[in-house]
Point group: D2
Chain length 97, copies 4
């Protein structure tokens, strides 16, 4: 049931696969820099990797809200407030990054 | 308790005041353009207005999660899922705007 | 020829028209808040206004680079370096706002 | 003098070092996911990696403008226009990513 943890077999495997793709994109950018690829083409790949990271973050946040935040809100009390505040702060970091 | 509505006297007044400040910033940018102000100075003001709009959006989202989403989650059922999905979609729009 | 100024009749008129539309969007958001419109719908409009502001900034930056920065680079010297540095700083503010 | 290429020994080494740090951050996020780290902590690291990627992109763009774009502008003609347009498009992708 989560308990604020990042769980779920398929989801975990999916998320790891996404992160490995981003890692591959970053290594691809390194190769481009090593081979003196034209800056604009390097930037296009950096923008693609940034977008992939943001999509991953949004998916993770979505899961978190649908599980941890919703569970805490269902129980109510101080824990519910803490979870909402935490999620809001994480959203602000995402929007500003 | 909100029922998905944007309520609360003080908060409403605060939010309107913030929006009026952003409107004033946009009018300030118009005056700068009319007076042929140097582009870089215009851009600085546009960035400030954009940041103010994003802060307003984050504050509004925070209130929404602490009230509507938390209330719906406390009740559970399909409505809870809908509210979480709606909030996630709004967050994605903010992150991508 | 610009001289670092924001000039050009049509462009100026176009830019003012865009800013007035953004101002109208901000006033629209104020009306939504006054009428207790559902938060998610308010947020959608705030995201649209933010995107419109960013598009305006990108257009202005584009014009600036095609005129002031290019002119300064053509002349060379310290002024060219200053213009490029200024533009880079403005871009960083946009990306981070 | 660049000719649109990504050159310069120290800069290249610096940029590769930055990209390797981002790669390390992404692998760190993978470990967090594998170890079921709390979502909010994972998100904090994802935001940090996103910011690092954006800073890298801004630095690269800065170098590109100070070399390729400035060189092309100094020569003038169609090539100058193409370089400015290319840089503007890259900036738009960054702002929107």
């Amino acid at each position: 049931m989560g308990m604020g943890k990042y769980t779920g077999g398929d989801r975990k495997a999916d998320n790891l696969a996404r992160l490995r793709r981003v890692e591959g994109q970053i290594r691809g950018v390194q190769r481009m820099v090593e081979q003196d690829t034209y800056c604009i083409d390097v930037l296009t790949q950096v923008s693609a990797a940034t977008k992939a990271l943001q999509s991953f973050a949004l998916e993770l946040l979505n899961e978190h809200m649908a599980t941890c935040v919703a569970d805490a809100a269902a129980k109510g009390g101080a824990e519910a407030d803490i979870k909402v505040k935490e999620a809001s702060d994480a959203i602000a970091r995402l929007v500003r990054s």
